[in-house]
Symmetry: C2
Subunit: 202 residues, 2 copies
């Protein structure tokens, strides 16, 4: 039970948190969330083609993925709104040139995650990660990864990470796109420096 919010509906709590109201979501706090799946009056979201594939027998109350989520702030034990969801349809391109496309699908002060797409036979170019650490997963492709000074052949399903203070490069061996998922762990840093480095990317 969250202090000061007892007895309010989800709609009311959303209003009190940020003035946002997600239509159709009414979930009194007195009802355990385990029971949500049994409720029949929820509106299902159909935002685009993909969403319309939700099975007909699904009687969850589903929220709109484009709206922020109510979550707990563990330091204050109060509910806050955070953008915790990102769908394929709402990604924004962070960087693009003739060799790579970088999408940051989730971006918080602590980390960023998204996709790095390498064009056919292109290479990313050597890059230094400064104080961040970047973990990669090869979703699809065949690549040569150079980590500091060592090169590896990696393929679909493989993982690697670049520790802080190291350089790396990725070269696409295919005549089609290679796709990598990255998670950039941002090192805690002073505000001013953080602003300067805000444009850094994998």
């Amino acid at each position: 039970m969250v202090k000061g919010l007892e007895g309010k509906t989800y709609e009311e709590r959303l209003k009190s948190l940020g003035g946002l109201v997600i239509s159709g979501i009414v979930c009194p706090e007195t009802e355990p969330h385990r029971n949500v799946k049994r409720r029949k009056h929820g509106h299902r979201q159909k935002r685009d083609e993909t969403r319309s594939e939700i099975p007909a027998n699904l009687d969850h109350t589903l929220a709109d993925t484009s709206k922020p989520t109510i979550v707990l702030n563990p330091e204050t034990n109060e509910e806050v709104l955070l953008e915790c969801i990102n769908t394929e349809s709402s990604h924004s391109c962070f960087f693009k040139d003739e060799s790579v496309e970088i999408y940051k699908n989730l971006n918080t002060p602590a980390f960023a995650t998204g996709r790095l797409i390498l064009k056919p036979f292109k290479e990313k170019g050597h890059q230094f990660v400064h104080m961040d650490t970047i973990a990669f997963h090869v979703i699809h492709g065949k690549i040569i990864v150079t980590l500091h000074k060592t090169s590896y052949y990696l393929t679909t399903g493989d993982y690697f990470y670049v520790p802080a203070g190291n350089g790396y490069n990725i070269r696409n061996l295919l005549n089609e796109e290679s796709v990598l998922l990255f998670t950039q762990l941002k090192k805690d840093r002073p505000k001013a420096r953080s602003m300067l480095l805000e444009t850094s990317s994998p």
Copy 2:
């Protein structure tokens, strides 16, 4: 140029770092790593079926993915050995029951990353992430994610994360496995507590 290691071959440096020698890797420090691809005497690694697909025209010197990588420690500016690579063939199952399988493919004091496989029509069960933050990417599947108290329908390509101090659940809507990639950002914590929580997982 790394202090105290000038003029040594990669093989010699590997020996001085951990007594490990990767056969065939000889890369004098005086030669810029950009030239590595032009060298002809590298041994190609063929560890398993997948590896044998390396194109014949690839004249990189490739290292063995099962061996640790020489990287820089930015605090000391010295080279150290770290396990930065994990291939599909060398994953280890971290947790398994009738509903889920969890693989931690990379695991460091700062983060862990790997795959969470949800069996057909199964749900993970509600879990609290304590002080960690966990980012997820749906590699393949159709799922219902419950984040704190809100449920979302997500499908292949979507992203979500669970902020520290929150609970979540994932339910597989398919009559086949749904596969998620997770990255667990470990909150800095005292050594003793870290040991106790070492078995925590997404």
